[in-house]
Protein backbone atom coordinates (compact mmCIF):
# COMPACT_ATOMS: atom_id res chain seq x y z
CA UNK A 1 0.00 0.00 0.00
CA UNK A 2 1.42 3.35 -1.05
CA UNK A 3 1.78 5.76 1.86
CA UNK A 4 3.80 8.48 0.13
CA UNK A 5 3.08 9.61 -3.41
CA UNK A 6 5.13 12.43 -4.88
CA UNK A 7 4.48 13.75 -8.37
CA UNK A 8 6.54 16.36 -10.19
CA UNK A 9 7.36 18.12 -6.96
CA UNK A 10 9.28 21.33 -7.59
CA UNK A 11 10.62 23.97 -5.23
CA UNK A 12 12.15 27.18 -6.50
CA UNK A 13 13.68 29.59 -4.01
CA UNK A 14 13.84 33.26 -4.87
CA UNK A 15 16.58 35.28 -3.28
CA UNK A 16 18.24 38.65 -3.64
CA UNK A 17 21.58 38.80 -5.43
CA UNK A 18 24.34 40.31 -3.32
CA UNK A 19 27.01 42.19 -5.20
CA UNK A 20 30.51 42.27 -3.79
CA UNK A 21 32.06 45.26 -2.06
CA UNK A 22 30.66 48.53 -0.70
CA UNK A 23 29.72 49.81 -4.17
CA UNK A 24 27.76 46.65 -4.76
CA UNK A 25 26.01 47.01 -1.43
CA UNK A 26 25.06 50.60 -2.28
CA UNK A 27 23.72 49.52 -5.67
CA UNK A 28 21.75 46.72 -3.94
CA UNK A 29 20.19 49.27 -1.64
CA UNK A 30 18.40 50.94 -4.55
CA UNK A 31 18.06 48.27 -7.22
CA UNK A 32 18.22 44.70 -6.08
CA UNK A 33 18.38 41.84 -8.53
CA UNK A 34 16.49 38.70 -7.60
CA UNK A 35 17.76 35.28 -8.54
CA UNK A 36 16.06 31.91 -8.54
CA UNK A 37 17.41 28.57 -7.47
CA UNK A 38 15.60 25.36 -8.28
CA UNK A 39 16.20 23.16 -5.25
CA UNK A 40 13.86 20.35 -6.29
CA UNK A 41 12.76 19.79 -9.88
CA UNK A 42 9.98 17.47 -10.97
CA UNK A 43 10.76 14.84 -8.36
CA UNK A 44 8.40 11.86 -8.47
CA UNK A 45 8.43 8.68 -6.41
CA UNK A 46 6.22 6.51 -4.26
CA UNK A 47 6.93 4.80 -0.96
CA UNK A 48 5.09 1.73 0.34
CA UNK A 49 3.85 1.50 3.90
CA UNK A 50 6.58 0.10 6.15
CA UNK A 51 9.32 0.67 3.58
CA UNK A 52 12.67 2.22 4.50
CA UNK A 53 13.90 4.45 1.70
CA UNK A 54 17.15 6.40 1.57
CA UNK A 55 17.47 9.73 -0.18
CA UNK A 56 21.04 10.22 -1.36
CA UNK A 57 22.66 13.14 -3.08
CA UNK A 58 25.46 15.68 -2.81
CA UNK A 59 25.10 18.89 -0.78
CA UNK A 60 22.41 21.11 -2.26
CA UNK A 61 20.87 18.25 -4.26
CA UNK A 62 17.41 18.86 -2.81
CA UNK A 63 17.08 15.94 -0.37
CA UNK A 64 16.36 18.02 2.71
CA UNK A 65 14.05 20.35 0.76
CA UNK A 66 12.07 17.29 -0.36
CA UNK A 67 11.78 16.08 3.26
CA UNK A 68 10.73 19.57 4.38
CA UNK A 69 7.95 19.66 1.81
CA UNK A 70 6.75 16.19 2.81
CA UNK A 71 6.68 17.21 6.46
CA UNK A 72 4.76 20.40 5.64
CA UNK A 73 7.55 22.80 6.62
CA UNK A 74 7.79 24.19 3.09
CA UNK A 75 5.21 24.85 0.40
CA UNK A 76 6.20 23.55 -3.02
CA UNK A 77 6.33 25.80 -6.06
CA UNK A 78 4.51 23.19 -8.13
CA UNK A 79 3.69 19.50 -8.17
CA UNK A 80 1.75 17.40 -5.74
CA UNK A 81 2.28 15.00 -2.87
CA UNK A 82 0.07 13.00 -0.57
CA UNK A 83 1.24 11.26 2.57
CA UNK A 84 -1.18 8.89 4.29
CA UNK A 85 -3.92 10.61 2.29
CA UNK A 86 -2.99 14.14 3.36
CA UNK A 87 -1.40 17.01 1.49
CA UNK A 88 1.56 17.74 3.81
CA UNK A 89 1.75 21.52 3.39
CA UNK A 90 -1.90 21.93 4.38
CA UNK A 91 -0.54 21.18 7.87
CA UNK A 92 -3.64 19.40 9.05
CA UNK A 93 -3.42 18.34 12.70
CA UNK A 94 -4.51 14.78 11.80
CA UNK A 95 -1.51 14.47 9.48
CA UNK A 96 0.89 16.06 11.94
CA UNK A 97 -0.08 13.38 14.47
CA UNK A 98 0.87 10.64 12.01
CA UNK A 99 4.44 11.59 11.24
CA UNK A 100 7.58 12.80 12.97
CA UNK A 101 10.76 14.38 11.72
CA UNK A 102 14.23 14.19 13.21
CA UNK A 103 16.88 16.55 11.89
CA UNK A 104 20.50 16.00 12.79
CA UNK A 105 21.21 19.70 12.89
CA UNK A 106 18.02 20.93 14.52
CA UNK A 107 16.69 20.10 17.92
CA UNK A 108 13.23 20.03 19.43
CA UNK A 109 14.56 19.52 22.97
CA UNK A 110 14.64 22.32 25.55
CA UNK A 111 18.41 22.68 26.06
CA UNK A 112 18.33 23.83 29.69
CA UNK A 113 15.93 21.13 30.88
CA UNK A 114 16.25 17.36 31.11
CA UNK A 115 14.97 15.57 27.99
CA UNK A 116 12.16 13.98 29.99
CA UNK A 117 10.53 17.42 30.29
CA UNK A 118 10.38 17.77 26.50
CA UNK A 119 8.95 14.25 26.35
CA UNK A 120 6.19 15.28 28.75
CA UNK A 121 5.49 18.37 26.62
CA UNK A 122 5.23 16.19 23.51
CA UNK A 123 2.93 13.82 25.38
CA UNK A 124 0.61 16.76 26.06
CA UNK A 125 0.92 18.19 22.53
CA UNK A 126 0.13 14.83 20.90
CA UNK A 127 -2.40 13.96 23.63
CA UNK A 128 -0.80 10.58 24.32
CA UNK A 129 -2.49 8.59 27.07
CA UNK A 130 -0.33 8.54 30.24
CA UNK A 131 -0.06 4.73 30.37
CA UNK A 132 0.81 4.40 26.68
CA UNK A 133 3.38 7.18 27.14
CA UNK A 134 5.04 5.38 30.04
CA UNK A 135 5.15 2.08 28.14
CA UNK A 136 6.62 3.69 25.02
CA UNK A 137 9.13 5.71 27.01
CA UNK A 138 10.27 2.60 28.92
CA UNK A 139 10.65 0.64 25.72
CA UNK A 140 12.55 3.36 23.85
CA UNK A 141 14.86 4.26 26.75
CA UNK A 142 15.75 0.58 27.14
CA UNK A 143 16.34 0.09 23.44
CA UNK A 144 18.55 3.16 23.21
CA UNK A 145 20.12 2.58 26.63
CA UNK A 146 19.59 6.11 27.94
CA UNK A 147 17.54 5.52 31.10
CA UNK A 148 20.17 7.11 33.36
CA UNK A 149 20.32 10.19 31.15
CA UNK A 150 16.64 11.15 31.32
CA UNK A 151 17.21 13.57 34.19
CA UNK A 152 20.33 15.20 32.71
CA UNK A 153 20.08 18.69 31.19
CA UNK A 154 20.04 18.32 27.40
CA UNK A 155 22.95 20.72 26.92
CA UNK A 156 25.14 18.46 29.06
CA UNK A 157 24.54 15.43 26.84
CA UNK A 158 26.97 14.31 24.16
CA UNK A 159 25.86 14.65 20.52
CA UNK A 160 25.13 10.92 20.31
CA UNK A 161 23.10 10.97 23.53
CA UNK A 162 21.19 14.02 22.37
CA UNK A 163 20.32 12.35 19.08
CA UNK A 164 18.94 9.36 20.96
CA UNK A 165 16.75 11.73 22.97
CA UNK A 166 15.62 13.42 19.74
CA UNK A 167 14.54 10.02 18.45
CA UNK A 168 12.58 9.26 21.61
CA UNK A 169 10.90 12.69 21.48
CA UNK A 170 9.91 11.99 17.87
CA UNK A 171 8.59 8.48 18.48
CA UNK A 172 6.54 8.95 21.66
CA UNK A 173 3.31 9.37 19.73
CA UNK A 174 4.05 6.29 17.61
CA UNK A 175 4.14 7.98 14.20
CA UNK A 176 3.44 5.91 11.07
CA UNK A 177 6.01 7.84 9.06
CA UNK A 178 9.41 8.94 10.29
CA UNK A 179 11.45 11.44 8.31
CA UNK A 180 15.14 11.45 9.21
CA UNK A 181 17.43 14.18 7.93
CA UNK A 182 21.08 13.31 8.54
CA UNK A 183 20.38 11.62 11.88
CA UNK A 184 23.98 10.48 12.34
CA UNK A 185 25.76 13.64 11.23
CA UNK A 186 28.79 14.42 13.37
CA UNK A 187 28.44 11.27 15.49
CA UNK A 188 31.29 8.91 16.33
CA UNK A 189 31.28 5.43 14.79
CA UNK A 190 29.80 3.73 17.86
CA UNK A 191 26.96 6.24 18.15
CA UNK A 192 26.28 5.97 14.43
CA UNK A 193 26.05 2.21 14.70
CA UNK A 194 23.84 2.39 17.76
CA UNK A 195 21.37 4.75 16.06
CA UNK A 196 21.43 2.66 12.89
CA UNK A 197 20.76 -0.58 14.79
CA UNK A 198 17.91 1.04 16.66
CA UNK A 199 16.27 2.40 13.51
CA UNK A 200 16.60 -0.93 11.73
CA UNK A 201 15.07 -2.78 14.67
CA UNK A 202 12.31 -0.20 15.05
CA UNK A 203 11.43 -0.31 11.34
CA UNK A 204 11.28 -4.09 11.38
CA UNK A 205 9.25 -4.31 14.57
CA UNK A 206 6.73 -1.53 14.02
CA UNK A 207 6.65 -1.29 10.20
CA UNK A 208 7.05 2.47 10.57
CA UNK A 209 7.81 3.97 7.16
CA UNK A 210 11.27 5.56 7.10
CA UNK A 211 12.46 8.20 4.67
CA UNK A 212 16.08 8.97 5.39
CA UNK A 213 18.70 11.34 4.07
CA UNK A 214 22.33 10.80 4.98
CA UNK A 215 25.79 11.52 3.72
CA UNK A 216 26.96 8.28 5.28
CA UNK A 217 26.49 5.48 2.79
CA UNK A 218 26.72 3.05 5.70
CA UNK A 219 23.46 4.47 7.10
CA UNK A 220 21.64 3.86 3.85
CA UNK A 221 23.24 0.45 3.30
CA UNK A 222 22.26 -0.72 6.77
CA UNK A 223 18.75 0.68 6.83
CA UNK A 224 17.34 1.11 3.37
CA UNK A 225 16.71 -1.73 0.92
CA UNK A 226 15.81 0.98 -1.58
CA UNK A 227 17.54 4.27 -2.38
CA UNK A 228 16.65 7.31 -4.40
CA UNK A 229 19.54 9.41 -5.63
CA UNK A 230 18.72 13.04 -6.21
CA UNK A 231 21.08 15.33 -8.06
CA UNK A 232 20.50 18.93 -9.14
CA UNK A 233 16.98 18.56 -7.76
CA UNK A 234 16.01 15.57 -9.93
CA UNK A 235 15.79 11.82 -9.31
CA UNK A 236 18.67 10.13 -11.15
CA UNK A 237 18.38 6.67 -9.61
CA UNK A 238 15.66 4.73 -7.82
CA UNK A 239 16.30 1.16 -6.73
CA UNK A 240 18.30 -1.09 -4.42
CA UNK A 241 21.68 0.30 -3.45
CA UNK A 242 23.32 -2.88 -4.71
CA UNK A 243 22.37 -1.83 -8.23
CA UNK A 244 24.41 1.32 -7.81
CA UNK A 245 27.51 -0.87 -7.35
CA UNK A 246 26.68 -2.64 -10.60
CA UNK A 247 27.39 0.55 -12.49
CA UNK A 248 31.03 -0.36 -11.92
CA UNK A 249 30.33 -4.11 -11.78
CA UNK A 250 32.50 -4.74 -14.85
CA UNK A 251 35.56 -3.37 -13.08
CA UNK A 252 37.69 -4.56 -10.15
CA UNK A 253 40.34 -2.96 -8.04
CA UNK A 254 43.66 -4.74 -7.49
CA UNK A 255 45.73 -3.59 -4.52
CA UNK A 256 49.24 -4.96 -4.59
CA UNK A 257 52.45 -4.79 -2.62
CA UNK A 258 55.84 -5.73 -4.10
CA UNK A 259 59.33 -6.43 -2.73
CA UNK A 260 60.70 -3.35 -4.48
CA UNK A 261 59.49 0.12 -5.43
CA UNK A 262 57.04 0.22 -8.35
CA UNK A 263 56.58 2.74 -11.15
CA UNK A 264 53.37 3.82 -12.84
CA UNK A 265 54.92 3.20 -16.24
CA UNK A 266 55.57 -0.50 -15.62
CA UNK A 267 52.07 -0.97 -14.12
CA UNK A 268 50.25 0.72 -17.00
CA UNK A 269 50.44 -2.49 -19.04
CA UNK A 270 48.19 -4.29 -16.50
CA UNK A 271 45.37 -1.75 -16.10
CA UNK A 272 44.56 1.83 -15.15
CA UNK A 273 46.92 2.97 -12.40
CA UNK A 274 44.90 4.72 -9.69
CA UNK A 275 47.74 5.08 -7.20
CA UNK A 276 51.40 4.16 -7.03
CA UNK A 277 53.59 4.91 -4.05
CA UNK A 278 56.86 3.18 -3.16
CA UNK A 279 56.15 -0.56 -3.22
CA UNK A 280 52.32 -0.33 -3.20
CA UNK A 281 49.89 0.33 -6.02
CA UNK A 282 46.20 0.32 -6.84
CA UNK A 283 45.07 -0.77 -10.29
CA UNK A 284 41.69 -0.69 -12.00
CA UNK A 285 41.17 -3.76 -14.18
CA UNK A 286 38.31 -4.94 -16.42
CA UNK A 287 36.64 -7.92 -14.71
CA UNK A 288 36.79 -10.20 -17.76
CA UNK A 289 40.53 -9.56 -18.04
CA UNK A 290 41.24 -10.07 -14.34
CA UNK A 291 42.57 -13.65 -14.43
CA UNK A 292 45.19 -13.19 -17.21
CA UNK A 293 46.12 -9.86 -15.67
CA UNK A 294 46.84 -11.43 -12.29
CA UNK A 295 48.87 -14.23 -13.89
CA UNK A 296 50.97 -11.67 -15.75
CA UNK A 297 51.38 -9.58 -12.60
CA UNK A 298 52.74 -12.52 -10.59
CA UNK A 299 55.11 -13.37 -13.46
CA UNK A 300 56.43 -9.88 -14.04
CA UNK A 301 56.65 -8.40 -10.57
CA UNK A 302 57.92 -9.60 -7.15
CA UNK A 303 54.42 -9.47 -5.58
CA UNK A 304 54.27 -10.14 -1.82
CA UNK A 305 50.60 -9.25 -1.20
CA UNK A 306 47.57 -8.83 -3.43
CA UNK A 307 43.93 -8.01 -2.82
CA UNK A 308 41.08 -7.94 -5.37
CA UNK A 309 38.11 -5.69 -4.44
CA UNK A 310 34.88 -4.37 -5.90
CA UNK A 311 34.77 -0.69 -6.76
CA UNK A 312 33.51 0.99 -3.54
CA UNK A 313 29.81 1.82 -3.43
CA UNK A 314 30.65 5.49 -2.83
CA UNK A 315 32.19 5.67 -6.30
CA UNK A 316 28.98 4.38 -7.85
CA UNK A 317 27.04 6.99 -5.93
CA UNK A 318 29.53 9.69 -6.88
CA UNK A 319 29.04 8.68 -10.50
CA UNK A 320 25.33 9.40 -10.17
CA UNK A 321 26.11 12.65 -8.38
CA UNK A 322 28.11 13.80 -11.37
CA UNK A 323 25.81 12.56 -14.06
CA UNK A 324 22.23 13.49 -14.83
CA UNK A 325 21.33 10.27 -16.65
CA UNK A 326 21.72 6.61 -15.76
CA UNK A 327 24.07 5.01 -18.23
CA UNK A 328 27.02 2.79 -17.53
CA UNK A 329 30.43 4.45 -17.70
Amino acid sequence: MEIITVQNLTKVFTYAAKEKGLKGSLRDLFARKTLQKTAVENVSFTVQKGEAVGLLGPNGAGKTTTLKMLSGILYPTSGSATVAGYVPWQRQRAYQRRFAIVMGQKSQLWPDLPAVDTFELNRRIYEVDADAYRRTLDELTDLLDVRELLQVQVRRLSLGERMKMELIAALLHRPEILYLDEPTIGLDILSQRSIRDFLKYYNEQTRTTLLLTSHYTADIEALCPRSIIINHGSVVFDGPLAEVSEVFGHKKLVALKAQRDLTAAELAAFGTVRACQHNTALLEVERDRLQPCLQRLFGALPVVDLDVKDIPLEEGIAYFYQKAGVSAP
Binding site: F13, G60, T64, K68, S71, G72, I73, L74, Y75, R91, R93, A94, Q96, R97, F99, A100, I101, M103, Q105, K106, S107, Q108, W110, D112, L113, D117, E120, L121, R124, I125, Y126, E127, Q153
Partner: protein, 269 residues
Protein backbone atom coordinates in the same frame (compact mmCIF):
# COMPACT_ATOMS: atom_id res chain seq x y z
CA UNK B 1 -19.34 23.90 22.79
CA UNK B 2 -18.00 20.82 24.56
CA UNK B 3 -15.29 20.55 21.91
CA UNK B 4 -14.41 24.21 22.37
CA UNK B 5 -14.10 23.76 26.14
CA UNK B 6 -11.86 20.73 25.56
CA UNK B 7 -9.64 22.70 23.19
CA UNK B 8 -9.46 25.58 25.67
CA UNK B 9 -8.40 23.18 28.43
CA UNK B 10 -5.81 21.69 26.05
CA UNK B 11 -4.25 25.06 25.22
CA UNK B 12 -4.40 26.32 28.80
CA UNK B 13 -2.68 23.09 29.90
CA UNK B 14 0.08 23.67 27.35
CA UNK B 15 0.40 27.31 28.40
CA UNK B 16 0.77 26.19 32.01
CA UNK B 17 3.52 23.78 30.98
CA UNK B 18 5.29 26.49 28.97
CA UNK B 19 5.14 28.75 32.02
CA UNK B 20 6.53 26.01 34.26
CA UNK B 21 9.38 25.14 31.88
CA UNK B 22 10.23 28.78 31.25
CA UNK B 23 10.41 29.42 34.98
CA UNK B 24 12.57 26.31 35.47
CA UNK B 25 14.91 27.49 32.71
CA UNK B 26 15.18 30.99 34.15
CA UNK B 27 15.82 29.68 37.65
CA UNK B 28 18.74 27.72 36.25
CA UNK B 29 20.49 31.04 35.55
CA UNK B 30 20.02 32.97 38.78
CA UNK B 31 22.25 35.94 37.95
CA UNK B 32 20.52 36.48 34.61
CA UNK B 33 17.13 36.17 36.29
CA UNK B 34 18.00 38.80 38.93
CA UNK B 35 19.71 41.05 36.35
CA UNK B 36 16.53 40.93 34.23
CA UNK B 37 14.48 42.16 37.19
CA UNK B 38 17.05 44.89 37.95
CA UNK B 39 17.08 46.15 34.34
CA UNK B 40 13.30 46.26 34.18
CA UNK B 41 13.25 48.11 37.53
CA UNK B 42 15.53 50.72 35.93
CA UNK B 43 13.20 51.17 32.94
CA UNK B 44 10.26 51.29 35.31
CA UNK B 45 11.86 54.09 37.33
CA UNK B 46 12.25 56.13 34.13
CA UNK B 47 8.55 55.62 33.40
CA UNK B 48 7.73 56.57 36.98
CA UNK B 49 9.51 59.92 36.47
CA UNK B 50 6.61 60.97 34.25
CA UNK B 51 4.18 60.01 36.98
CA UNK B 52 6.12 62.01 39.60
CA UNK B 53 6.32 65.05 37.30
CA UNK B 54 2.59 64.92 36.59
CA UNK B 55 1.75 64.55 40.29
CA UNK B 56 4.07 67.43 41.25
CA UNK B 57 2.54 69.67 38.60
CA UNK B 58 -0.90 68.57 39.79
CA UNK B 59 -2.40 70.26 36.74
CA UNK B 60 -5.41 69.09 34.74
CA UNK B 61 -4.43 68.59 31.08
CA UNK B 62 -7.05 68.32 28.35
CA UNK B 63 -9.71 67.00 30.74
CA UNK B 64 -7.54 64.54 32.70
CA UNK B 65 -6.60 65.15 36.33
CA UNK B 66 -3.13 64.22 37.57
CA UNK B 67 -4.49 61.10 39.29
CA UNK B 68 -6.40 59.96 36.21
CA UNK B 69 -3.20 60.39 34.21
CA UNK B 70 -1.50 58.29 36.86
CA UNK B 71 -4.00 55.50 36.12
CA UNK B 72 -3.14 55.69 32.40
CA UNK B 73 0.58 55.51 33.17
CA UNK B 74 -0.04 52.63 35.60
CA UNK B 75 -1.96 50.75 32.90
CA UNK B 76 0.88 51.40 30.44
CA UNK B 77 3.46 50.03 32.90
CA UNK B 78 1.32 46.97 33.68
CA UNK B 79 0.57 46.16 30.02
CA UNK B 80 4.26 46.66 29.20
CA UNK B 81 5.07 44.10 31.90
CA UNK B 82 2.70 41.51 30.46
CA UNK B 83 4.05 42.23 26.95
CA UNK B 84 7.59 41.76 28.25
CA UNK B 85 6.48 38.36 29.55
CA UNK B 86 6.02 37.07 25.99
CA UNK B 87 8.57 39.35 24.31
CA UNK B 88 11.34 36.69 24.19
CA UNK B 89 9.24 34.88 21.58
CA UNK B 90 8.84 38.04 19.49
CA UNK B 91 12.53 38.78 19.75
CA UNK B 92 13.43 35.21 18.73
CA UNK B 93 11.04 34.99 15.78
CA UNK B 94 13.22 36.78 13.16
CA UNK B 95 16.18 34.72 14.33
CA UNK B 96 14.29 31.44 14.02
CA UNK B 97 13.14 32.45 10.54
CA UNK B 98 16.72 33.26 9.62
CA UNK B 99 18.34 30.08 10.95
CA UNK B 100 15.43 27.74 10.22
CA UNK B 101 14.84 26.75 13.84
CA UNK B 102 11.14 27.33 13.22
CA UNK B 103 11.08 24.05 11.28
CA UNK B 104 10.32 21.76 14.20
CA UNK B 105 7.53 23.97 15.52
CA UNK B 106 5.77 23.88 12.15
CA UNK B 107 5.41 20.11 12.35
CA UNK B 108 3.56 19.98 15.67
CA UNK B 109 -0.19 19.30 15.77
CA UNK B 110 -0.89 22.49 17.63
CA UNK B 111 -1.67 26.03 16.52
CA UNK B 112 1.68 27.30 15.24
CA UNK B 113 1.10 30.89 16.30
CA UNK B 114 0.31 29.74 19.82
CA UNK B 115 3.51 27.69 19.92
CA UNK B 116 5.72 30.35 18.37
CA UNK B 117 4.45 33.33 20.39
CA UNK B 118 3.84 31.82 23.81
CA UNK B 119 6.42 29.05 24.15
CA UNK B 120 8.89 31.02 26.24
CA UNK B 121 7.53 33.17 29.03
CA UNK B 122 9.68 35.63 30.94
CA UNK B 123 8.94 36.06 34.62
CA UNK B 124 11.79 38.29 35.76
CA UNK B 125 10.89 41.39 33.77
CA UNK B 126 7.09 41.45 34.21
CA UNK B 127 7.16 41.14 38.02
CA UNK B 128 8.25 44.73 38.83
CA UNK B 129 6.17 46.22 36.00
CA UNK B 130 2.94 44.47 36.90
CA UNK B 131 3.38 45.18 40.63
CA UNK B 132 4.22 48.86 40.11
CA UNK B 133 1.56 49.34 37.41
CA UNK B 134 -1.14 47.88 39.65
CA UNK B 135 -0.01 50.04 42.57
CA UNK B 136 -0.24 53.20 40.43
CA UNK B 137 -3.68 52.21 39.12
CA UNK B 138 -5.04 51.56 42.62
CA UNK B 139 -3.50 54.75 44.03
CA UNK B 140 -4.63 56.91 41.08
CA UNK B 141 -8.14 55.42 41.08
CA UNK B 142 -8.54 56.06 44.79
CA UNK B 143 -7.18 59.62 44.69
CA UNK B 144 -9.10 60.53 41.54
CA UNK B 145 -12.30 59.73 43.42
CA UNK B 146 -13.64 57.51 40.64
CA UNK B 147 -16.37 54.95 41.53
CA UNK B 148 -15.12 51.52 42.60
CA UNK B 149 -18.13 49.49 41.48
CA UNK B 150 -18.07 45.90 40.17
CA UNK B 151 -19.08 47.29 36.77
CA UNK B 152 -16.24 49.81 36.72
CA UNK B 153 -13.66 47.24 37.86
CA UNK B 154 -14.93 44.66 35.35
CA UNK B 155 -14.96 47.26 32.56
CA UNK B 156 -11.44 48.36 33.47
CA UNK B 157 -10.27 44.72 33.45
CA UNK B 158 -11.99 43.98 30.12
CA UNK B 159 -10.38 47.00 28.40
CA UNK B 160 -7.02 46.06 29.96
CA UNK B 161 -7.38 42.54 28.52
CA UNK B 162 -8.48 43.98 25.17
CA UNK B 163 -5.47 46.29 25.31
CA UNK B 164 -3.12 43.43 26.02
CA UNK B 165 -4.64 41.33 23.23
CA UNK B 166 -4.28 44.31 20.89
CA UNK B 167 -0.63 44.65 21.92
CA UNK B 168 -0.10 40.93 21.24
CA UNK B 169 -1.58 41.18 17.72
CA UNK B 170 -0.39 44.63 16.70
CA UNK B 171 3.25 44.21 17.66
CA UNK B 172 3.48 40.73 16.20
CA UNK B 173 2.89 42.17 12.73
CA UNK B 174 6.31 43.91 12.45
CA UNK B 175 8.02 40.67 13.56
CA UNK B 176 6.23 38.79 10.78
CA UNK B 177 8.00 40.97 8.22
CA UNK B 178 11.06 38.83 8.91
CA UNK B 179 9.47 36.11 6.77
CA UNK B 180 9.97 38.43 3.79
CA UNK B 181 12.92 40.60 4.77
CA UNK B 182 14.79 38.29 7.21
CA UNK B 183 16.48 41.06 9.21
CA UNK B 184 13.98 43.45 10.81
CA UNK B 185 15.90 45.17 13.62
CA UNK B 186 14.96 48.61 12.31
CA UNK B 187 11.27 47.73 12.19
CA UNK B 188 11.50 46.25 15.69
CA UNK B 189 12.94 49.53 17.00
CA UNK B 190 10.20 51.47 15.20
CA UNK B 191 7.45 49.33 16.70
CA UNK B 192 8.95 49.80 20.20
CA UNK B 193 8.89 53.57 19.61
CA UNK B 194 5.23 53.38 18.55
CA UNK B 195 4.38 51.38 21.68
CA UNK B 196 6.11 54.02 23.81
CA UNK B 197 3.61 56.61 22.56
CA UNK B 198 1.62 55.26 25.48
CA UNK B 199 4.27 56.58 27.85
CA UNK B 200 1.98 59.52 28.44
CA UNK B 201 -1.84 59.68 28.26
CA UNK B 202 -3.15 60.33 24.74
CA UNK B 203 -4.85 63.57 25.84
CA UNK B 204 -1.41 65.17 25.86
CA UNK B 205 -1.06 64.70 22.08
CA UNK B 206 -2.63 66.94 19.41
CA UNK B 207 -6.10 65.90 18.21
CA UNK B 208 -4.88 64.59 14.85
CA UNK B 209 -2.31 62.34 16.55
CA UNK B 210 -5.05 61.06 18.87
CA UNK B 211 -7.28 60.25 15.89
CA UNK B 212 -4.45 58.41 14.15
CA UNK B 213 -3.62 56.52 17.35
CA UNK B 214 -7.22 55.51 17.93
CA UNK B 215 -8.52 54.77 14.46
CA UNK B 216 -5.63 54.06 12.09
CA UNK B 217 -2.95 52.50 14.27
CA UNK B 218 -4.92 51.90 17.46
CA UNK B 219 -2.08 52.03 19.97
CA UNK B 220 -3.86 54.52 22.24
CA UNK B 221 -6.58 51.98 22.95
CA UNK B 222 -4.08 49.87 24.84
CA UNK B 223 -3.54 52.02 27.91
CA UNK B 224 -6.04 54.89 27.71
CA UNK B 225 -9.38 53.16 27.23
CA UNK B 226 -9.49 51.35 30.62
CA UNK B 227 -9.16 54.66 32.52
CA UNK B 228 -11.44 56.56 30.13
CA UNK B 229 -14.09 53.86 30.61
CA UNK B 230 -13.96 54.20 34.41
CA UNK B 231 -14.16 57.98 34.01
CA UNK B 232 -17.26 57.59 31.84
CA UNK B 233 -15.40 59.46 29.12
CA UNK B 234 -15.81 56.78 26.43
CA UNK B 235 -18.66 57.35 24.02
CA UNK B 236 -20.75 54.23 23.15
CA UNK B 237 -19.08 54.16 19.72
CA UNK B 238 -15.62 54.24 21.32
CA UNK B 239 -16.67 51.54 23.82
CA UNK B 240 -17.55 49.29 20.87
CA UNK B 241 -14.38 50.29 18.98
CA UNK B 242 -12.29 49.49 22.06
CA UNK B 243 -13.44 45.89 21.80
CA UNK B 244 -13.82 45.65 18.02
CA UNK B 245 -10.38 47.06 17.16
CA UNK B 246 -8.43 44.20 18.80
CA UNK B 247 -10.56 41.69 16.88
CA UNK B 248 -10.05 43.60 13.61
CA UNK B 249 -6.29 43.77 14.18
CA UNK B 250 -6.34 40.06 15.10
CA UNK B 251 -8.01 39.33 11.74
CA UNK B 252 -5.37 41.33 9.88
CA UNK B 253 -2.55 39.76 11.85
CA UNK B 254 -3.86 36.23 11.17
CA UNK B 255 -4.10 36.98 7.44
CA UNK B 256 -0.46 38.17 7.46
CA UNK B 257 0.52 35.13 9.55
CA UNK B 258 -0.97 32.75 7.00
CA UNK B 259 0.87 34.47 4.16
CA UNK B 260 4.07 34.42 6.23
CA UNK B 261 3.76 30.67 6.75
CA UNK B 262 3.54 30.15 3.00
CA UNK B 263 6.52 32.44 2.57
CA UNK B 264 8.75 30.54 5.00
CA UNK B 265 11.83 29.21 3.25
CA UNK B 266 13.58 27.59 6.22
CA UNK B 267 17.38 27.49 6.05
CA UNK B 268 19.80 24.90 4.84
CA UNK B 269 21.58 22.73 7.35
Amino acid sequence: MKHLAKRLRYYLGLLGLFAKYSLMEQMAYRINFIAGIAVECGYMLIKLMYAVLILRAGAEINGLTAHEMLMCIGTYIMVTGVYMGIYPNYWALPLSVRDGSLDMQLTKPVNTQFLVTLRKLDFGMPIPDVACGLALIVYGWQRAGLPVTPGAVAGFAVYCLAGWFLTYCLFLIPELLSFWFVSTNGVQALSSAVFDFNNTPMNLYPKWVQRLGILLLPVFLITNFPTLYVMGALSPAMQVWGLAAPLAVFGIQRAIWRRAMRQYTSASG
